[in-house]
C-alpha cells in the first residue's frame, strides 16, 4: 500500500517518465470498473497531502459514484513507494510543504516562488487557513522574478499587494500606463479622422481581479477575441448602469474556428473526467476555486461547491498520479472533452454528405455541373474520412430526380429516375447512400461522366424542394450535410417559388417583404432537418431572380451556409476557380455534427436573444446539426440582477460529434471583471464586437420591421451612445458642444456603423436586386468579426506608391501596404489602387496610368488595351507585378473561411456599374442619398447636441 511518503502531491509527472513497468497496468485501467479494492491506497496519499483538514472519511466514500468509477486512487496503489521522492523534495523548499495542505500546491513548477504566488493570489477568496501563511511570506520573492513568467504578473498578481513599490515599475514594463484600471481617453471625432489601422488594435484588455484565474498563464485561460468576445470587457454590475451607457451587451462567438498556421489545436481532455457543477451544469474552468483542501471546487458561475471527481488528479495515460494544475481544462480557455456515453443520444454517427446537383438546361449551360463534378472528384480525398465511415450520395434534379445506385463491388453507377415530384420516394432502399471508401470507384466513374450524361438536357424547371426531400429521406436516420447546388428558381413540387421580384417596390417599405420567406416550406423543412440532424448548404448560381432570401432560410435554421454566385459562368475561369475553391473548402471542412450549443453565464446574466445560423430549441439551447468552421453567432445579454461578484464568466459549450466519430464537448471560457463605474464601461467597450452585434440585430430588424426602420435604429443607437457619453463623461454635459466626443476605443464605431448603413444588405437604394441583398444579409449574420469588419469597412490600398517593403515577405509573411481611409479623395488619376472587402477585390486603374505601370502589372501595352471586369492577374517577371500578386494572394489567404475573393479590374472610365460598385465600397464618400463620413459625423453631432437639449 502506498505509504504517505509515496504520496507525491499531484504533478511531478516529469520524473515518472522512465517507469516502464507501470505501463502494464495501463491496459487494466481502461476497464475502469475492474479495479480491485485497494482503494485506500490512492486516497491515503491524497489525504496525507491534505493534511489535518481532511480527516476521516476517505474521499472515495464521499464521492458520488453516479458517473463512473474513478480509478485514480486505485491505480496508485499498485506503485511501489517513493522512488521519485528525492528529486521532488529537492525542488521544493521547506515552507512549501504546508501549502500542500491547502490543496493549492502547484508541484511541477521549477520555481517555488510561483507556487506561492498562486497561493497569494488565492488568498482574497480564501480564509488564510493553515497553509496560506507561508505563501504570503514568500510573496515578495515572486515579484522579484517577473521575467521568468512574464505573463503572470500582467494579470492581477501585482494588484494582489497594491502597496508594493514594485508595482508601478511592473505596470510600466507591461506598457499598461496608469495605475487605474482602464483609463478613459476621450477623443474628438471632429478633429481626428478614422484611421483604418485602429481596427487592427486588439480590444481593451481584460483586467481580472487578482487570483481569479488558477492558471499561471492567464492569457491562455481567457478566450481569444477571435473565438469569443464581448462587447464590454468590464461588465456593469447593474442593468441601470448598462442602460446608462447605452452600449449593447452581447457576445460574439465563433466556437469552431479554423486553424491557421502556427496555431495550436484546441487541447483535448481524453480521460472523460468531466467535472461539472451540480447545479448550473457548468464545466470546470481555470476560474473556479478549489476549496476544502482541494477536495471540492466552487463553481464560478453559481458559487455552488462541488466535489472534485476522484480521478481528477490521476494521469490515466501514464497510470500514475497526475498534476491537477497541468490539466488542460484548468489552463486553457478552450478545451474539448471527450464525452462518455451519457452525452450521447445514440452512438456517434458517421459524416454523411448528400450532394444535390441541378442538371437543368441552365445549370448545364453555365458549366456549373461540369465544374461541380470536377471539384467533387478532385476533393474526394479531402472529404473527412479518417475512419472510413463517411457516406456520400449524389442526386441530380431538374423536373425529375435522378438517383445513382452504386452497389458495393461494382464500379459502375446505375441511374434511377423518379419523376413523381409530389410524393417523393426513394427508388431503392439501399446503395443510394454509399460508403465513400467502398464505392470510390463507382463514384469516380459517375462523377467523371455526370456532365456528359446531362449535356443534352433541355428541361428547364427545377424540382429543388422534392430533391431536398429526397436527400432528407436518404440521410434521415443518420443526419449529416446536404450540399445543394441550384441554378434556377425552384418551380416544381413542394417548395416551388414564384418570381416575386418587382423593381417598383425596391427602395420602398415593402421591400423587406422580399427578404422574408415566400413559402413556408423552407422553414418547416428546416425544422424537420434540424430534428434529424441534417444541415443544408446552398450554392446558388442563377443569373435571373432565384429568391435567395427564401432559399437562405434553410441554411439559416440548419446551421449551414449560403453561397451565391450571381450569373455564374464557368467559361470565365475566375468564376469556376472561385466556386471550385469554395465548394472544395466546404467538402474538406472537418465539420462538427449533431451539435448543440449552450452559453452559460454567471448569476445575474441571462442570454436574451440569439442571432446566427441555428435553430433555437429551448430558451438557451441552440441546435446546430452541423457546425461549419468560421461561422459566427451573436448573443445579446441581459443583466437581470445586480452582480456582486468581482468577475463574471461566460462559458460556451458545444456538444458535438466530430466527423471522425467521436463525441466531444468543446468548452470556451471568457471571464470578465465587473465594474460599477461608467467610465470603465466605456473604456472597456470593444467596437468590433459592438459592430458585429449591431450588424446581426440590424439584419433581423430588416426582416421583422423594414429596411428603413433598421437603418434608423442603427443610427439612433449610435446617437444614444454618443449622447450618453457626452452627458456623463465630458464637461459639456447636457449642453451643446462643439466637439463630438467618444472614448478612444470607440473611435471607429461611427465609421463602422456608416459602413454597415452602406452595406448592400442594409443600404438605402432602389437598385439593389433582392438576391444580392439577401446574400449580403446572410453574410452579415454569419461572418466572424475578422471577415465582417472588412466587409462593412473595406480595405483600401494605394499600390502604385506603396512602401518598398509592401508585398515582399517579412517576418510575418507578406507585408501588406498601409490601409488608407476608404475615400475617393485618395484616388489619383495615374494610380493603381486596391479595394477589398473580403468577398471581392477591385484593382482600380486611374485613367492616366502610365503605360509602364499597366505593362508591369497586366502585361498590356497601355491603359486603353486594358479591359475591366473579372480578371486573373498574370504572373510576370518583374518585382512590381510579383508584389501586387503577393498582396492579392495574401488578401485571399489572410482571413479564415472558405471565401475566395474575386479580382475585378476597374478602369476609371470603364463600365459604369462596375465602377459604381467599386466606388460604393469607398464608404467614406458621399454616394447617392448616403452621407459622406464628414456629413455623417456632422449629422451625428447635431443629433447628439439636439438630444442633449431635451
Amino acid at each position: 500500500m502506498a505509504s504517505p511518503t509515496q504520496q507525491l502531491p499531484p504533478g511531478w509527472a516529469a520524473e515518472w517518465n522512465a517507469e516502464h513497468q507501470r505501463y502494464l497496468f495501463i491496459e487494466t485501467v481502461t476497464g475502469r470498473s475492474q479495479w480491485e479494492p485497494p482503494v485506500e491506497g490512492p486516497n491515503a496519499p491524497i489525504d496525507a497531502v491534505v493534511g489535518p483538514s481532511a480527516s476521516g472519511s476517505p474521499p472515495p466514500a464521499t464521492h458520488n459514484p453516479k458517473r463512473r468509477q474513478y480509478a485514480a486512487g486505485q491505480t496508485q496503489a499498485y506503485y511501489g513507494a517513493a522512488e521519485p521522492e528525492s528529486s521532488y523534495d529537492a525542488g521544493y523548499t521547506a515552507p512549501q510543504q504546508p501549502q500542500q495542505g491547502g490543496g493549492l500546491f502547484t508541484p511541477g513548477l521549477a520555481q517555488d516562488g510561483f507556487g506561492q504566488q498562486q497561493q497569494g493570489a488565492q488568498a482574497p477568496y480564501y480564509p488564510p487557513q493553515d497553509a496560506a501563511a507561508g505563501g504570503y511570506g514568500a510573496e515578495p520573492a515572486a515579484y522579484g522574478q517577473p521575467q521568468a513568467y512574464p505573463q503572470a504578473p500582467a494579470y492581477g498578481q501585482p494588484q494582489a499587494a497594491p502597496g508594493m513599490g514594485a508595482l508601478t515599475d511592473q505596470f510600466g514594463q507591461m506598457g499598461v500606463g496608469g495605475q487605474k484600471p482602464f483609463q478613459l481617453h476621450t477623443a474628438n471625432l471632429l478633429t481626428s479622422p478614422p484611421d483604418p489601422r485602429e481596427l487592427a488594435i486588439p480590444p481593451p484588455e481584460i483586467r481580472l481581479p487578482p487570483g481569479a484565474c488558477l492558471s499561471q498563464n492567464a492569457t491562455h485561460a481567457n478566450a481569444e477575441p477571435g473565438v469569443l468576445r464581448c462587447t464590454l470587457n468590464a461588465i456593469p454590475t447593474t442593468a441601470s448602469l448598462l442602460g446608462k451607457s447605452k452600449i449593447p451587451l452581447g457576445l460574439v462567438i465563433t466556437p469552431y474556428r479554423s486553424l491557421k498556421e502556427g496555431e495550436s489545436i484546441v487541447p483535448v481532455v481524453a480521460d472523460t473526467i468531466i467535472a461539472r457543477c451540480r447545479r448550473c451544469r457548468a464545466y470546470i474552468s481555470p476560474f473556479v476555486q478549489f476549496i476544502d483542501g482541494g477536495n471540492r471546487w466552487r463553481c464560478c458561475l453559481c458559487n455552488m461547491s462541488n466535489e472534485v471527481p476522484q480521478l481528477f488528479d490521476w494521469d490515466q495515460v501514464r497510470n500514475q498520479p497526475g498534476d491537477r494544475w497541468a490539466r488542460d481544462e484548468l489552463n486553457h480557455a478552450a478545451v474539448e472533452f471527450v464525452a462518455p456515453t451519457e452525452y450521447m443520444v445514440r452512438a456517434p454517427q458517421p459524416a454523411v454528405y448528400v450532394i444535390l446537383i441541378d442538371v437543368s438546361h441552365t445549370a448545364v449551360q453555365s458549366g456549373m455541373v461540369a465544374t461541380a463534378t470536377r471539384t467533387i472528384l478532385e476533393n474526394l480525398d479531402r472529404i473527412p474520412n479518417d475512419d472510413n465511415r463517411t457516406k456520400i450520395a449524389i442526386v441530380c434534379f431538374d423536373v425529375s430526380l435522378y438517383f445513382f445506385s452504386m452497389p458495393p463491388g461494382s464500379t459502375d453507377a446505375t441511374m434511377l429516375v423518379v419523376s413523381d415530384t409530389d410524393d417523393v420516394f426513394l427508388p431503392k432502399p439501399t446503395d443510394l447512400l454509399v460508403n465513400l471508401t467502398e464505392a470510390r470507384a463507382s463514384l469516380e466513374n459517375l462523377l467523371g461522366r455526370l456532365g456528359d450524361m446531362f449535356a443534352e438536357n433541355h428541361s428547364l424547371g427545377s424540382a429543388l424542394g422534392p430533391a431536398l426531400q429526397a436527400g432528407f429521406k436518404l440521410m434521415n436516420p443518420i443526419g449529416g450535410q446536404i450540399l445543394c447546388l441550384s441554378s434556377t428558381l425552384p418551380t416544381v413540387g413542394p417548395g416551388a417559388l414564384k418570381n416575386r421580384e418587382d423593381a417598383k417596390i425596391l427602395g420602398t417599405p415593402k421591400e423587406s417583404g422580399l427578404l422574408q420567406a415566400a413559402s413556408p416550406f423552407y422553414k418547416t423543412f428546416a425544422i424537420e432537418c434540424s430534428r434529424a440532424q441534417v444541415s443544408v448548404d446552398m450554392f446558388l448560381f442563377s443569373s435571373a431572380y432565384q429568391d435567395v432570401a427564401t432559399l437562405a432560410y434553410l441554411p439559416h435554421y440548419t446551421s449551414g451556409q449560403t453561397y451565391f454566385y450571381p450569373a455564374f459562368n464557368a467559361a470565365r475561369s475566375e468564376d469556376a476557380v472561385k466556386f471550385a475553391h469554395e465548394l472544395g473548402g466546404v467538402l474538406a471542412m472537418p465539420i462538427m455534427l449533431e451539435a448543440v450549443q449552450r452559453v452559460r453565464a454567471s448569476k445575474g446574466l441571462r442570454m436574451a436573444s440569439f442571432h446566427g445560423n441555428f435553430f433555437v430549441r429551448s430558451t438557451d439551447l441552440l441546435a446546430m446539426p452541423a457546425v461549419p468552421q468560421d461561422q459566427s453567432y451573436a448573443i445579446e445579454i441581459q443583466i437581470e440582477d445586480t452582480i456582486t461578484a468581482p468577475f463574471v464568466m461566460f462559458q460556451v459549450a458545444v456538444l458535438h460529434t466530430t466527423c471522425y466519430g467521436e463525441r466531444r464537448i468543446r468548452v470556451i471560457n471568457l471571464a470578465l471583471p465587473t465594474t460599477s463605474n461608467l467610465s470603465e464601461v466605456y473604456a472597456s467597450a470593444d467596437q468590433v464586437a459592438i459592430a458585429t452585434l449591431l450588424a446581426n440585430k440590424a439584419v433581423e430588424r430588416t426582416i421583422t420591421h423594414s429596411l428603413e426602420n433598421s437603418r434608423e435604429a442603427l443610427f439612433t443607437k449610435l446617437v444614444e451612445i454618443f449622447s450618453a457619453y457626452k452627458a456623463s463623461m465630458t464637461a459639456a454635459g447636457a449642453g451643446a458642444s462643439a466637439q463630438l466626443s467618444i472614448s478612444e476605443n470607440l473611435k471607429m464605431l461611427p465609421v463602422l456603423i456608416l459602413g454597415l448603413l452602406k452595406n448592400v444588405g442594409i443600404r438605402q437604394s432602389a437598385q439593389i436586386p433582392p438576391d444580392l441583398r439577401a446574400y449580403a444579409q446572410a453574410l452579415l449574420t454569419s461572418l466572424p468579426s475578422q471577415q465582417l469588419i472588412p466587409y462593412i469597412y473595406p480595405n483600401f490600398y494605394s499600390l502604385h506608391n506603396m512602401a518598398p517593403e509592401a508585398g515582399t515577405i517579412g517576418e510575418n509573411g507578406i507585408i501588406m501596404p498601409i490601409p488608407l481611409p476608404p475615400s475617393s479623395e485618395r484616388l489619383e488619376r495615374h494610380g493603381l489602387f486596391m479595394i477589398e472587402d473580403g468577398q471581392t477585390i477591385f484593382l482600380w486603374v486611374g485613367r492616366d496610368a502610365v503605360p509602364q505601370l499597366v505593362m508591369d502589372v497586366f502585361d498590356l501595352p497601355s491603359y486603353e488595351a486594358l479591359r475591366g471586369g473579372k480578371t486573373t492577374l498574370p504572373v510576370l517577371d518583374n518585382p512590381f507585378n510579383q508584389r501586387v500578386n503577393a498582396i492579392i494572394q495574401k488578401t485571399r489567404e489572410m482571413r479564415r473561411g472558405v471565401y475566395y475573393p474575386q479580382l475585378y479590374v476597374v478602369k476609371e472610365d470603364g463600365e459604369m456599374p462596375l465602377r459604381l460598385w467599386a466606388l460604393s465600397l469607398l464608404i467614406q464618400d458621399r454616394a447617392d442619398v448616403l452621407p459622406s463620413y464628414q456629413q455623417f459625423i456632422t449629422q451625428l453631432k447635431d443629433k447628439v447636441n439636439g438630444a442633449g437639449n431635451y
Binding site: K523, R531, Y557, S609, F610, F615, V616, R617, S618, T704
Partner: protein, 144 residues
C-alpha cells in the same frame, strides 16, 4: 326574448370554452419557457387551435350580428378584426423558428384575450340572467 336567452346561454358556453383555450395557450407558453416542451411540438399543438379559436369567436360575433345584439357585437368586433388582420398578414400561426423572439408578444396577446373572454363571459352571463328573468317574467305574465 326566448331567443336571447338561448343565444346568451350559448355565448356563455362559448366564452368558457375560449377562456379555457387561452388558459391552455398560456400554460403551454410557460412550459416552453421552462423547457418542458420544445418549440416544434408547441407550435404543432397550438397551431391546431388557432383556427378553431378564431372561427369560434367569429361565429359568435356573427350570431350577435344576426340576432341584432348590437352591444355584444360591437364588443367583439375589434377582436374579430384583429384576428382577421393577422390571418390576412399570414402571421396568425406560431412559427417554431421565431417563437422565442416573439414569445413575450404572444404571451401578452394571450393574456389580453384571456381577460377579454373573462369579461365577455360575465357580460354574457349577465345578459343570460337578464334574458331568463325576462323570460320568467313573460311566462308569469302569460300565466296570469
Amino acid at each position: 326574448m326566448l331567443g336571447t336567452g338561448w343565444l346568451f346561454l350559448f355565448a356563455v358556453l362559448m366564452a368558457a370554452g375560449l377562456l379555457f383555450t387561452m388558459v391552455f395557450f398560456i400554460i403551454m407558453f410557460s412550459d416552453l419557457e421552462c423547457d418542458y416542451i420544445n418549440p416544434i411540438d408547441l407550435c404543432n399543438k397550438l397551431n391546431q387551435f388557432v383556427f378553431p379559436e378564431n372561427a369560434a369567436h367569429a361565429f359568435l360575433t356573427l350570431l350577435f350580428l344576426l340576432s341584432g345584439q348590437w352591444i355584444a357585437f360591437l364588443l367583439n368586433l375589434p377582436l374579430v378584426l384583429f384576428n382577421a388582420n393577422k390571418i390576412r398578414n399570414k402571421n396568425h400561426m406560431y412559427d417554431a423558428t421565431e417563437i422565442f423572439r416573439t414569445l413575450s408578444g404572444h404571451k401578452t396577446e394571450s393574456f389580453f384575450k384571456l381577460g377579454f373572454y373573462l369579461l365577455s363571459f360575465f357580460y354574457y352571463l349577465y345578459r343570460l340572467i337578464g334574458g331568463v328573468r325576462s323570460m320568467i317574467v313573460a311566462l308569469i305574465s302569460e300565466s296570469e
